[in-house]
């Protein structure tokens, strides 16, 4: 039985391709649901023209499929509500500030 918590843990292993913070800390994961062997993820990106969309989607798919029992990963990209910097966690904020990114 796959749990939502397992999926969140897997997503924490996916880093932003530029800065070493997870996409969970970046605040782009909106919802995780598990239905039997299918994982449904609702997520957004920091910009519609984000250059890392393909890379992040591939990484999410790969990490979530590592959970035993997962047969399918269904990712839906949404733009509402829009992502803002307020969604970054305090831990993520600390990492970005270290690299001189204003948050």
């Amino acid at each position: 039985m796959v749990t939502e918590n397992q999926v969140w843990q897997a997503l924490k292993a996916v880093n932003d391709p530029e800065y070493p913070l997870s996409i969970v800390d970046l605040g782009i994961i909106y919802k995780v649901e598990v239905l039997h062997a299918i994982v449904a993820i609702e997520m957004t990106f920091t910009a519609m023209g984000c250059p890392a969309i393909d890379m992040i989607l591939l990484d999410v798919d790969e990490e979530v499929r590592k959970i035993s029992g997962v047969k399918n990963v269904d990712i839906e990209i949404v733009w509402s509500p829009p992502w803002t910097r307020d969604r970054i966690t305090p831990a993520g904020r600390e990492i970005l500030q270290y690299y001189g990114v204003g948050v």
Binding site: P17, P51, A52, Y99
Partner: protein, 317 residues
């Protein structure tokens, strides 16, 4: 009168200070020779970033998805920004930035021979990100860690992060193309076949032939050419082996080093994009090939400079 600048008292004193951890912050802290070495290094750095832009731009037209096209155009944007940072640092040292970009002839730019070559399909584009940008990370990561020039060190923190995105893009697509198999994998292998030795050559003269380096004496960088070549192979060879792509190098457990499986350096045929492993060269011959520049040198320079004498030409502004 001292004729050899490097043996001058001021030079020796500066080297000693730098060895003890001194950071150079402004022109007053420099000797003429330090400044000259720094400007040479920055010119290579800036020109390399600049000339990657037209090369990547032409290849971006081949992007197989809208997201990957966005990725490459964003990478081009980053590269131009990185070039601008290095030119801007030189401007503070009295070098005319506008002249550097618009005033020089194509063959006067100091980028490596690899960025005189055409990138003709998507496989070559992503191997450029995987190999050339990896070389950039090895070189600039070393500068970031070791440079004695404060303004350069601070500017490289963000550059380094952005280069990692380019690398991730390249490696992620190399994996995808290999997994797809068939013609995609064949084209990936063909790209690696010419681009692997191209990057190896990029790091320059082997240590045994390079007797003196102002860059190392002034701690403008930390690793030698051979060390950087090893750092690059340490990342690149395992990646290729993992995805089933052949490279002309292997790890020697006893020596603890990567060993090239071909005579290095050797001749390159740019028209066929093929290394002639049966034609070893001397380094003087390599320098001659580099100096003659490669097939895309003029095209790329023109793409960057535009029509210099037109109403919107770089000469007038």
């Amino acid at each position: 009168m001292a004729t050899d600048k490097k043996n001058g008292k001021a030079e020796q004193e500066l080297m000693e200070k730098i060895r003890n951890g001194f950071m150079v912050e402004s022109e007053e802290d420099m000797t003429p020779d330090y400044k000259k070495s720094l400007i040479t290094q920055l010119t290579v750095q800036a020109d390399t970033e600049l000339m990657s832009a037209p090369a990547y731009y032409l290849a971006s037209k081949d992007a197989p998805t809208i997201n990957s096209r966005i990725a490459v155009t964003a990478i081009i944007h980053d590269e131009l920004g990185h070039a601008n940072i290095a030119y801007r640092i030189m401007e503070d040292l009295g070098v005319d930035k506008h002249w550097l970009v618009y005033g020089r002839k194509p063959h006067e730019f100091k980028h490596p021979y690899g960025f005189d070559q055409p990138l003709e399909n998507w496989a070559e584009m992503v191997v450029a990100n995987g190999f050339f940008d990896r070389a950039g990370i090895c070189l600039l990561g070393d500068v970031l860690e070791n440079t004695s020039y404060g303004p350069l060190k601070r500017s490289l923190v963000k550059v380094d992060r952005e280069e990692i995105l380019h690398l991730r893009h390249g490696e992620s697509w190399m994996k995808r193309l290999s997994k797809a198999g068939g013609e995609a994998k064949e084209l990936l292998q063909r790209a690696v076949d010419w681009m692997f030795p191209m990057t190896i050559e990029w790091f320059g003269l082997p240590d045994e032939l390079k007797h003196h380096s102002g860059q190392l004496d002034y701690r403008l960088k930390g690793q030698t050419n051979d060390q950087l070549r090893q750092t690059w192979m340490d990342a690149t060879v395992p990646l290729c082996e993992k995805i089933g792509i052949k490279v002309p190098a292997h790890y020697d457990k006893e020596k603890g080093d990567y060993i090239l499986d071909y005579p290095f350096p050797c001749q390159y045929n740019p028209d066929e994009k093929r290394w002639l492993f049966d034609e070893p060269l001397t380094w003087d011959q390599v320098f001659k090939r580099w100096k003659a520049r490669g097939p895309m040198n003029k095209t790329y320079a023109e793409m960057v400079q535009g029509d210099l004498d037109s109403i919107f030409g770089g000469r007038l502004w």
